[in-house]
Amino acid sequence: MYELFKNLGSWLVAGEQWTGPDGIGHRIAEHLQYSLLATLVAAAIALPVGLLIGHTGRGAFVAINLASFGRALPTVGLVVLVFLAGGLSMTPVYVALVALAVPSIVTNTYAGMTAVDPEVKDAARGQGMRGHQVLLRVEIPLALPLIMTGLRLALIQVVATATIAAYVSFGGLGRYVFDGLAQRDLVQVLGGAVLVAAVAVVLDLALSGLQRVLFRHRRAAV
């Protein structure tokens, strides 16, 4: 065990390990690219849906349950299914990752919207605000902490799952995990896993820092 961790240490710090197309630097860049793009697409789908059902209070049951399908779908199965239908490209990976990310964003956005005090909304209407004004100026600002939590949650899940890109021949940190398993190279598998965890933690810290900065600003403005 000690030996394994010692080897892991030298694997992680070896200079040649960090450069070139198979290097850790490039793999992290690929991994971030897959994760961020998938989360952005998921947000583009899920945020409007969450805001809509939260604002109108209609269709929540259907939308939440439909979104939760994404959670129940086995990601690898979805990748293979889309792959067999569409062929070898990043599409299957993105479809699976987006399906994974949508539920957290929809449910958290919806939860944030419903948590807004109805009297506050009434007051906004009473001041003569229209529907979209209530949404943009009252509901979204108040729901923002929970919406951000949903986005963070989705991003972390996606970062952890983006390793499957390697399953269908693409890059990212999953390359180390899949290649290591196939070549019985445990150090490589462990190295890949540790790097994925590190990327996830760093991203989460960065987002929570961003969140804190955003809300400090908001509080000051109010």
Binding site: V80, F83, G87, L88, F178, D179, A182, Q183
Partner: protein, 355 residues
């Protein structure tokens, strides 16, 4: 044979001193994994003990070793030398369809020769099967020449059937032997679609060199670093691919990619039913890069008598790669039972059980 008996005993003896914490689990596994009478002095029992000890189930190992120990081995010793299948032969098989079918085919062939058999399917990988065979838990195992040779001596260079048979005879541990190999073969193959073969003029692996830097190969991740893969293709045939795509071993990914044209060359198994179904072209291997993987019976000396040898040689001579491919298809695609499929083939080829 006795050497193995004593080899397994220290194993169980050492575990006897270790604390027992999982007695309930071990007793149930003993009941399910051996149908022989509880106190029957079969050598198998002792080895079962040894095996379970290895799987860190100390309580039963102590008990198994205690019941039979060397006495049981002494009784089994009567079979020593020539070997005898009079007490029946236990056939073990690995955890994939084709190996299970082969196990049932062996059972059918031996049954037709009047030998009693018991099949224990789906036992796992070589890492489990070979120790079980050495130990006496199983007596016979359907194996593949190249893969077995690579397992026993990873640096072996033989790839031709006869040379491998000789190398295997040398590499095998005491107490185990291989019988003559059969016609059927399940080896690695590099396949292209008919269109690709026509477009680039591909018939053999050597032809790939003419298209260096143009073709994309799809295979399981390990093939990138294997001699029977990218490394050997470069060394032996001078082939360089444009790109290597890590997919799976003759599974839906690599086959899907080949079908759709996402890869030009795919690493498949020769008994894959889709090769014929899709009309794919398997590239020939004039320089014998890919080791032969003829099916070969691996058997313990103690059971290898002439009745067993003849029955298995007869089966080996009758079963072709095409037959095996078809049987695989019946199990994997038609969802038939491996035992039924094997028995139907055996009956059609005159291997009917003697009463």
């Amino acid at each position: 044979m006795n050497a193995q008996g004593s080899a397994s005993s220290p194993n169980s003896a050492s575990s006897a001193s270790s604390p027992s914490s999982t007695s309930s689990t071990s007793s149930t596994s003993s009941a399910s994994s051996s149908s022989s009478p509880k106190h029957s002095p079969l050598p198998r029992r002792a080895i079962l003990g040894g095996l379970l000890a290895a799987a860190s189930v100390p309580a039963l190992a102590a008990c198994g070793g205690g019941i039979t120990s060397l006495d049981g081995q002494g009784g089994g010793g009567g079979n020593g030398g020539g070997g005898s299948s009079a007490n029946g032969v236990t056939i073990g098989t690995a955890n994939f369809t084709e190996n299970q079918i082969l196990g049932y085919l062996y059972a059918a062939a031996l049954g037709a020769a009047g030998v009693k058999t018991k099949v224990r399917p789906n036992l796992g990988t070589r890492e489990i099967l070979i120790p079980a065979l050495k130990g006496g838990d199983i007596d016979l195992l359907p194996e593949y020449q190249g893969a077995l040779l690579h397992y026993l001596s990873p640096k072996a260079t033989a790839t031709e059937e006869g040379a491998m048979q000789n190398a295997l005879a040398v590499a095998l541990p005491e107490g185990l032997q291989i019988l003559p190999y059969g016609r059927a073969e399940d080896s690695d193959a590099f396949a292209v679609t008919r269109e690709t073969a026509a477009e680039y003029g591909l018939a053999s692996l050597a032809d790939l060199k003419k298209q260096n830097g143009k073709l994309v190969i799809g295979a399981a991740p390990e093939v990138k670093k294997r001699v029977v893969g990218v490394v050997g293709l470069k060394e032996v045939y001078g082939v360089e691919f444009k790109e290597f795509k890590s997919l799976d071993s003759s599974g839906p990914l690599v086959k899907g990619a080949l079908k759709k044209g996402d890869v030009d060359v795919a690493n498949l198994f020769t008994t894959d039913t889709d090769i014929a179904a899709e009309g794919w072209v398997v590239l020939t291997d004039p320089k014998n890069l890919v080791p032969g993987q003829h099916v070969v019976p691996l058997i313990a000396d103690r059971k290898a008598d002439s009745a067993v040898r003849k029955a298995l040689a007869r089966l080996g001579g009758a079963l072709t790669t095409e037959d095996l491919t078809e049987l695989n298809r019946q199990v994997d695609k038609d969802k038939k039972d491996p035992e039924d499929v094997a028995n139907a083939w055996a009956a059609a080829h005159g291997l009917v059980k003697k009463r």
